[in-house]
């Protein structure tokens, strides 16, 4: 016996990863519009969102004139399945981790006065800004279920870890990375056997006043 239906769908961990990306892209654009309306610099709210990328920095590390906005890379890390909350045939309750890596980029520059702005500090501020925006967006009341109610049980920022990617502090560009381990509880579903109808059967269950149970069955069949 084989599965008769083509498995032509996304699993829900893929749906949720894409939904996280969609939420971030949509809300960052919205935040930039709100900043413009508030007469603030919308670039301060700009993040560049990627999914499942291995080296999103490459574009501008060798091109200092390109967009230096913080980069966010959303990628699926792992899942654990909770048997006690699942059933053996169709649904697996899943505890998934989606890593949301943020990278801040800073270049030392003259402050226009008697001092300077150090690039390492600017990079840390940039990545912290990205962390702030991402966490606030994903944990806002509007996205309690990430817009996937019925599929998502719960979302939670499990941890935030900041990395200082340095080779003895020697690199030309100052980069600080940070990871939000974003935990999502959700359901995964698996293909089911499509039952074949053999015969329709209708049964009425009646209980008499003395407590006796009486069944009355209707069989729809063609007499031979």
């Amino acid at each position: 016996m084989t599965i008769t239906a083509l498995i032509d769908k996304q699993d829900n961990f893929e749906v949720i990863r894409d939904q996280i990306v969609t939420i971030l892209v949509t809300e960052i654009a919205s935040q930039q519009s709100l900043a413009t309306a508030a007469a603030k610099d919308p670039d301060e709210w700009k993040l560049r969102i990627f999914a499942e990328r291995s080296n999103p920095w490459e574009q501008y590390l060798n091109d200092s004139a390109s967009d230096p906005s913080p980069i966010v890379n959303v990628w699926y890390d792992n899942s654990n399945f909770d048997q006690s909350g699942s059933n053996i045939s169709e649904r697996q309750k899943t505890d998934g981790i989606f890593n949301i890596d943020c990278y801040g980029y800073g270049v030392s520059e003259d402050d226009g006065g008697t001092g300077h702005k150090p690039g390492d500090r600017e990079a840390a501020y940039e990545v912290q800004k990205a962390l702030r925006l991402v966490r606030n967006i994903l944990m806002s009341a509007e996205y309690t279920y990430l817009g996937l109610r019925g599929l998502v049980w719960q979302r939670w920022p499990q941890s935030i870890t900041v990395f200082q990617p340095q080779i003895d502090g020697r690199q030309v560009q100052q980069i600080v990375g940070a990871r939000i381990a974003f935990r999502v509880l959700f359901n995964e579903f698996s293909p089911q056997v499509v039952a074949e109808t053999l015969e329709y059967l209708s049964v009425d269950v009646k209980r008499a006043e003395d407590g006796e149970i009486v069944l009355e069955a209707d069989y729809d069949y063609t007499a031979p």
């Binding site: 490459e58 990278y103 008697t114 300077h116 150090p118 980069i175």
Partner: protein, 126 residues
């Protein structure tokens, strides 16, 4: 002349020979704004950085090596990284081999006082 003096003298021939060696023009600006030209070694190369996120990112490393006696002869002290944001950093400028100009600040200074050489580790500055 001892071997160390000979080595320091050779350093000038090795480091500051822009005609037949790897010497290349370098401009140094101290925090007071004094600008002096030198000839020395300059490097600007790509390197992969591991940010510990499991995903490598591209990076660049730049450095400049200058003869200490040339710096002092020009009236400058040893360059050093300046952490104090209320002060100007040491600035080093040089072109790449294709003539593109780059400006860096000194983030770390590694002087070799035995040989008379200072290697400055650099980061972009604008």
């Amino acid at each position: 002349m001892g071997l160390r003096e000979i080595a320091e003298s050779d350093l000038g021939a090795i480091l500051e020979d822009s005609a037949y060696g790897f010497g290349y023009p370098i401009t140094v600006t101290d925090p007071a704004g004094t600008v002096k030209p030198f000839t020395g070694y300059s490097n600007d190369i790509s390197q992969i950085i591991d940010p510990d996120t499991g995903q490598a990112v591209s990076g660049r490393l730049a450095s400049a090596a200058i003869r200490i006696s040339s710096l002092t002869a020009a009236g400058l002290t040893l360059p050093q990284g300046i952490a104090d944001t209320s002060k100007k950093p040491w600035i080093i400028e040089f072109d790449d081999i294709n003539g593109n100009a780059y400006k860096f600040k000194v983030s770390q200074s590694n002087p070799d006082r035995a040989l008379g050489l200072v290697v400055c580790l650099l980061e972009f500055y604008k």
